[in-house]
Symmetry: C2
């Protein structure tokens, strides 16, 4: 919580002032090969341009500079790299956290608290976690070994020396609605293992990563390393550079967070670069029963509202059997659906509370999608709860929308079985609890689910659901109620994305996320001093 | 050594008899979806067909059977899988080693001793090594965790459970000249992490892998697992099935050992399957100086002769400065080249000794390549040592060829800067030691070198060479003389292939070789007994 930050009030005020001082200015960032300035960020809170411009650099020059910077960094050794990167995260925390909070708010549209927690401290935790895995993978390679064996008449003794050699230049794509959470661990995984990183932010959310890049560049230079290990490649909505970067002959690693469509292109076309992707989540809820149905519905409603469901982990589809099992007896599906709609309505009726939980809508396209889904819902099912703008108490021009909740039958799978990014939820009528589980896990598996949520009372059913979600490759949360957001993912104990379905091919964080970012080379020679 | 095997003489005789009993027969192997029988192996020792036929199975049926077999295997747990796979390797060692020796000799064409050591015990070691890495990667994931955190008014306590989920069905391609050495670790890496494996042997070297598949199938069935976890997909030279297997919708992992050309296709086209490749080696030697020039030349000559240089680690290109530095003063390049040719000639003049070291030539195409390289060598350089058949003392019809050694200038790079598979070596005239190092490491980097070999007296030059070979991605052996083959790669301390150049994208064995063969899924739920 922001209030627990050391001298939090002063830090918060200073961060806000620092953010405001950036507005309407060219952002001071030295980069190699600058060819111009650009910037088209629009605050979802004011719907006005931030007016910040950033240097645009020539991709060839960025790659060349990054390549030139690698040898010194790769040669610096594991401890030096890890210490420097920890210091970088520490600086982001100590010196820039509240600036980043406002940068995230006014680009991604998150609430103050989420920008602090989700895009701030939790994302820093994810960065540290990536360093831990990188260290494990690198330390698994002994720096040297003495080896001895008899070959015929000769006792051969060799000293073997191992080097960790980075892959090369990594390109880290960051997304519009959650710019730091995936980016920091990806960047740090590449840097820790000796690579250079070109950050390619979504043009709508540049500032958080521009600040990050500036912090790391300054730190690298200060410590005697080439700052071009970390650069920024800005593109614009009309002239995207993503494919140019990925197909560049010097691109060795791609980390991508963003749309499923481009993510699939990345996975298929990144070769020979390694690709680590996280795209979208068709996230499912099976509500078969609950010990405390009200608590379950409250948790579900809250999580479906949080940041207007603009997280890749937000639940979207609620699969309901005809009757939901409770200690007080079965409750009819329509009643449960109505109670869910009512709970969402209650959470969002007070604008101050709505502002805390819904925050704003990042992109204007989401409003059009809500409109389209409303029309489809009316035509093919029933709108249980309509979406409307709410009046943000602090930002009268904020782009806002309360959730749309639509009731559908299974035949409308073309409508619900993909991520509909934004405050859009579906209640899907299933034949039974088993059918709900089957539909939900099939949609997760085939359409790419990151998270799954289950409420049930029957332990046998729960066990089957755990197995089915494991096969579907979605991370399952069972019977959780209370104040924790259902989709909260903790560093060090929650794996984000499995790689088993279309929602992405990489997890934050496993050994597989780091182990292939470097290679091992060796040299060996006869032991020179046999007594050593 | 075979003589150290327990009751080695009896075992050797029994293995030979077992091999001979297989000849001219259908190989007894139950497989799902058998559609016919085929077999076109020809012994390089007799140049006569082995006359063994194997069941050919429909790929769709193999994939379906493999998929169906996975859940029971994946659910069995790490210890069960590892114990069973260790038992499988143990059976290969205790019950089938000498049968495999003859199977390797009469398909790959290796000598008895190499088939025993390189394709037998050392390959088994590589298999165990893969199991060790698989265990490390899997144990890095805790099976469960209890997690606690305050969210506003609520102290949330969750039990989190993690599952290792295999990717699916792996296809393991094995090569003609070294069928077990890459195959066993690849198979075991996939199986240990819960996947099924379809083995796709080169049609010229089926028997070693058919024996392997039969051993593992019997063991799996005996232990209550579905034997279809390990199957064989036989194709023929005129009707290859490689691309069909790789592009099959159920193909999740490809391990490939074979030609650079098909390997590159695999790397580019395996997606969405993971690809682990080892193709060919343009392997380089820089001979700048030596404390004992005779010893260096002897080692080099021996290793260039070994198995007629039909190993992906065999040195091919010897880069020489005008003068080679020795304690007795500089020795002229032409003299060193002549001494190398003489050393090779000496090693191969006695047919009994030639048989031990050169063994046979696996494929008839290699003889045509020698012929072509001789012509090119005569036209563009100088033939230092011509290739000729030698009379194998035990197999009068053996396909044999002593090494061809050609002297070239740097301008003939199109000739020497790629793997010329077989007993073909080049001596390349360079401007200086530094130039030799630059040429050699450039060829390794650009054309894909697996190994590099250096002889030098200047420690500064050696240090630069270590760095240059690390950048080139080839494993370097420095100043090694004596009875150890220069390209001997020991399990547990020698990494085979770096993944940094075109010789392949994967190393035997690193965490990266195993860590992505499984994913982590999780489920979490509130702690049910707060006192637990």
């Amino acid at each position: 919580m922001p209030k627990l930050y050391p001298q939090g009030e002063a830090a918060a005020a200073a961060g806000k002032a620092a953010f405001e001082a950036l507005l309407g200015q060219p952002f001071a960032l030295d980069l190699p090969g600058v060819t111009g300035q650009a910037g088209e960020e629009i605050s979802p809170y004011t719907q006005a341009p931030l007016g910040i411009t950033y240097p645009q650099a020539d991709p060839d020059r960025l790659f060349a500079a990054a390549r030139a910077a690698i040898p010194g960094w790769a040669g610096a050794g594991i401890d030096t790299r890890l210490n420097l990167l920890m210091e970088g995260l520490d600086r982001l925390y100590r010196e820039h956290l509240f600036t980043l909070v406002h940068a995230v708010m006014h680009t991604a549209g998150q609430s103050y608290n989420m920008a602090y927690a989700g895009s701030g401290v939790n994302a820093l935790d994810r960065g540290i976690e990536a360093l831990v895995y990188a260290e494990q993978a690198m330390r698994a390679v002994a720096p040297q070994a003495r080896w001895q064996r008899r070959f015929g008449p000769d006792e051969i003794a060799l000293d073997k020396t191992y080097r960790l050699v980075p892959r090369g230049v990594a390109v880290c794509f960051t997304c519009a609605s959650f710019p730091t959470w995936n980016a920091w661990p990806s960047m740090l995984a590449s840097l820790a293992t000796g690579n250079a990183v070109i950050v390619k932010p979504h043009p709508a959310s540049v500032l958080p990563m521009a600040i990050t890049v500036r912090v790391f560049r300054a730190l690298l230079a200060e410590q005697g390393f080439d700052p071009d290990l970390v650069t920024l490649c800005l593109d614009t909505l009309v002239a995207p550079l993503g494919k140019v970067l990925i197909k560049h002959e010097d691109c060795a690693i791609v980390d991508f967070t963003g749309s499923a469509r481009f993510g699939q292109w990345v996975e298929a076309n990144a070769h020979p670069a390694l690709a680590f992707t996280e795209t979208s989540g068709c996230n499912t809820v099976v509500l078969a029963g609950a010990e405390d149905l009200d608590a379950a519905i409250r948790s579900l409603a809250t999580t479906m509202c949080m940041f207007s469901a603009q997280m890749c982990t937000s639940p979207q589809n609620v699969y309901l059997p005809p009757w939901i099992d409770t200690p007080e007896g079965p409750v009819a599906r329509d009643e449960v659906a109505a109670r869910l709609a009512a709970a969402i309505a209650r959470l969002t009726e007070d604008p101050r509370r709505a502002a805390m939980i819904l925050a704003t809508v990042q992109g204007a396209g989401t409003l059009a999608l809500i409109e389209a889904m409303r029309r489809e819902g009316q035509a093919r099912g029933r709108v249980l709860l309509d979406s409307r703008p709410y009046a943000h108490p602090d930002f009268p021009d904020a782009r806002t929308a309360t959730p749309l909740l639509v009731s559908l039958g299974k035949e409308a799978r073309d409508l619900y079985a993909e991520e509909r990014f934004g405050p859009i939820g579906f209640v899907i009528a299933c034949d039974s609890a088993e059918d709900a589980l089957e539909q939900a896990t099939r949609d997760a598996r085939e359409q790419g689910g990151i998270t799954g949520f289950l409420y049930a009372r029957d332990e046998g059913f729960i066990a089957r659901a755990e197995a089915a979600y494991a096969r579907a490759g979605a991370q399952l949360t069972i019977n959780l109620t209370g104040a924790m957001p259902l989709n909260f993912a903790a560093a060090y104990s929650d794996y984000h994305v499995t790689g088993l379905n279309g929602a992405g091919n990489a997890a934050l964080t496993t050994l597989a996320f780091v182990a292939s970012r470097f290679a091992v080379t060796q040299s060996r020679r006869p032991v020179r001093d046999a007594n050593a």
